[in-house]
Symmetry: D2
Subunit: 341 residues, 4 copies
């Protein structure tokens, strides 16, 4: 059955896979000491136009969030994040597992504001008992958010400034970074992401790769002995080539952005059709995920013919569902879905 | 300057101190193997009328919450608690430090409801992604709450039942247990606390002791090798006699309840006066803490003559402050405070 | 330069890679819910002849050791292991990071004995202060060991029995399992490994796969909510197909054992030549690693022409070096090495 | 029955207790903000002649080791210690619980050497795989050791120098510090301890106090936000006066050193008698503990009349036992013991 369940349904983009095949028998050292890794790091630094950056490759998104946040925070600090952020909801407590509290801020369609960050920090230091509380230590946002929404240029800059003001590193979860940047509504480029954040990661798993995320420390702020910390978290890949070869290819000739744009186009085609047919959008998403409210009989009807995600119960008679597209979505499948709707 | 800043301003009740002096040179083993500890455990089991209980002594409240919660929860579980609960706010992330998330519920004057607990658990298991989320593993409530309020008998029983239904141990933080039970509005006895909870602790630090809390596991549910777990957390006292002698005396001739009643009486005397003088109560507390809203000029005036706690900013011109009484509060000081108000 | 530096120098076996290519565009769920994973689990259960087993796939060896050991041990327990075991030496403290002590036993060429395990456990319980000590909670051995050596059938059975006697799960690190089992000196089959251990893992990263290890719980002993625990450790792969497709192919037509045998054959060819040429073996390894003592001038000479591992300093004038072969080792390269020696 | 089982059998020294009684009803803030704490810190800084020092009070020894070591080490570091060190053996894995490995060095009668520390560090950095290993991050020694032995002045200085050379903070566990310094064989004063260490603690629990240890950071090296870290570990005492009042009294008129000397005198009286009667000393201890080898029939005979510690099995017919004295040991009890021997 055709699926729009999520954005990690297939393997890797053909070019990526071809490159793995082509390089397969070349002998290389492991644990990040291979030449592919050296080259992929340089490639990414060029793409983001950030010569001071350092880049590391990890395998998955939760792992990346866990290793990065735990390595950046001091032991007495927590991370400020939206209550709907991936780390707050769907990572099985991976951040708390490493000993850190998530300092939640209520989100609006997945986003938090500079004002709320500022208030949280000021309230903290105004509390006479702050020494008995968890210190705010960094800020986590997702671009795009878990609901497919985007921070505007101004929103990001304001958050970035408030973070600088309070000396809080700003970390951007880019599990779907390409799908955000490739959106027609995005006011930001990958260079902006690098410019306004202290750390971010470029998601590979959801955008063309079998696995892999590229973490970027933008201003000489890589934690000391970060390789050892990665190893300690069980996150150091022996055959580091597996991820670096994929990123080399993803950033060859702008492939990453092209395939991201394809996903956005497919998503917008679905969105346009949804609006024409009078469906109620739950969020107004300009990226690769569309959330709609359907009544439960329609839900059942759809379920028999196509796969998608249940998001949440809307009321007794309606449900929020999600259709996700990706680099791999075939337009004929989108047309099939549109016919069903 | 006379202080109503908190309820741990003095040393220990005279009888308690006298007992420490009297027993001082008796040779006893340590680490909980002393006879005072054996006797204090029996004494408490009698007082709570719970022969199946096991009792352990710890030094302080945050320590007790940390060791108990971490020992009860399975690694993939979190603890349900009010967002105003002590573990949520003023323990410097001691729970998250042990790897567990606090699953917050918005509180009403410090209290949470059985319905909110039930909803949280049902929403969890209804989520198709619950395997990627933190499992609810126990429930934490405070009696009295951090705002001096009390769960009614019916409220406690309903929470207890919902916990049983979902197989969630119910843990009651009794840092100020005496002050709750001695309230004229309390519908509960210490036997009820034992009956309706799975674990609770009897606060000593704030009620007559130099230090020490007595943890009670009410139904043969003490974690395996709990002494080793206490040691592993750095919380095992060598001279365990220090805490057990104090608890022996606190529960001799109902001293614990009598001195708790004194604190409540002193608090109510302040409250009555506050109401007569037209002060605005921030919470309607029947226990040993009174929270009021004062304008900032009054605040400054008071500050020069007496000590109390700033609680939080109310608005630009008003502040919430707290007066706490305790077993040690002298009535003459209360009268002095009333005169000032 | 031709390399014998380690056994993870190339990508994946051609068949494995071909299968990734062939299945690439099939849509499948993630996080272990895909059909490839279902089939790979069944395949492995058949291969090890253990219908009660449950199988999970992880990405790397240190990760597997960390997640498994932390999930099996109770909080107050540690893991018994050789002081030369991989977890003791080269995992950056990944076990301690999860809160557990490694209870070291001196090893003999990488191996520990049932007697030493027995003594450790008996000494523990004989110590009057054992409640203040770390409880022995499981046993970790490697097959083959980090030095290429093998436990005999009798050694393994004796260890297995002592573990049963003390109720200690026996966990076998099989990072190089194939290279052990394919050794001409191995007295054990993979079915024996399953029969005599409680948990073991089948190493993929070093034997034909791009990444991936298959953990086997042999007797209905998979930890509760193990998927959530994996997620919590940041170790749950979104595209679980990546590992399961590879294992399906590795266990198709005995590929895993055939390619392991190739590595052993290449290794023994080197070993034979070493002995003929009068080199001193540091360990007498029947598997895919050969350790020899060379004088430092020879070392320098070799370094210019071929890559290998420095193992340790032997004395002022000699060094221990390692040649590793793998499924990917070309016989012509072995011949080139032999010519050099 | 008279006991020489350990050095924490009684309550507190009379003066200490008297001071607790005398100050009992003085109102003071908590959590280290009380005036007693301020004064006790100053007192200790004077005694150790170290104006740059900062002092913090904790409750017990294992807690102190855990909080200090975890606060000093970076996440990728471990602590170098004797394999017989208290943290290595009898703290239930409290150090590993915080995520850190203990890098063991074989001890000689409880002591380690500068050479062994140096070798460990050099071997570490010489290992090409050191990024996959636990970095040495600090050194832990006990003075006196767990076996009652003492580092000579030269030994301590050499260790101190090697630590400086490798930039490793030197931490001295002073659970029995007084008993070491008061030994007639001690070549060191408390000022020397402060001078040659980076952190040390002055044990109160075993020397005159009901509880409490004073941690000293000697060179402006207190970890950032250490109070918050203490709180996070559940180790912050609400009534901080409890410990600070005791330390004030212990360092009033040299009481700490006087009562320590008494314990040493009592211990040496036992030792002299043991030697006269031909007992075999297991260690030659100049401090407050005496370890001897007795045959098992003598052991049984003694057990019926007096309490002491079993230390370990010596051989089939002999056992090592320990007699400990303390500030509280009565000479008449020592005479009774001598008569028995």
């Amino acid at each position: 059955m055709i699926s729009f369940e999520n954005d990690y349904l297939e393997g890797a983009h053909t070019n990526v896979l071809a490159q793995l095949v082509k390089t397969n028998m070349i002998q290389e050292s492991g644990y990040g000491m291979d030449n592919f890794t050296v080259r992929a790091k340089e490639k990414i630094k060029n793409v983001i136009d950030c010569p001071e950056a350092t880049v590391k490759f990890l395998v998955g998104g939760t792992q990346t969030n866990q290793v990065v946040i735990n390595s950046i925070l001091k032991p007495y600090e927590g991370v400020i994040a939206a209550d709907t952020g991936h780390i707050s909801t769907h990572e099985a407590g991976a951040i708390e597992y490493t000993g850190h509290k998530i300092l939640s801020i209520p989100s609006n369609e997945g986003k938090i504001t500079a004002i709320d960050i500022d208030n949280l920090v000021r309230d903290f230091y105004n509390d006479k008992n702050y020494r008995h509380m968890v210190f705010p230590g960094m800020v986590y946002i997702s671009f795009p958010t878990e609901y497919g929404t985007l921070y505007s240029r101004e929103e990001l800059i304001t958050i970035s400034n408030i973070c600088k003001k309070h000396d809080l590193p700003l970390y951007i979860d880019g599990a779907r970074l390409g799908y955000g940047l490739a959106s027609y509504e995005s006011e930001l480029t990958i260079k902006d992401i690098a410019k306004y954040s202290d750390i971010f990661y470029i998601g590979g798993t959801k955008i063309g790769a079998l696995c892999g995320e590229a973490v970027v420390f933008t201003n000489k702020n890589e934690p000391s002995h970060f390789t050892t910390l990665i190893k300690q978290h069980g996150a150091l890949l022996a055959k580091s080539r597996l991820v670096s070869i994929q990123f080399l290819e993803l950033f060859n000739n702008n492939l990453y952005f092209e395939i991201s744009r394809h996903a956005v186009d497919m998503s917008l085609k679905i969105k346009k059709s949804l609006l024409q047919k009078g469906y109620k959008l739950y969020y107004d998403s300009p990226t690769n995920q569309q959330f709609i409210v359907v009544n439960n009989s329609k839900l059942q009807e759809l379920e028999e013919k196509i796969k998608f995600s249940f998001w949440e119960k809307y009321d007794e008679e309606h449900t929020v569902i999600r259709f996700a597209t990706s680099w791999a979505t075939k337009e004929e499948n989108v047309d099939f879905l549109i016919d069903l709707l």
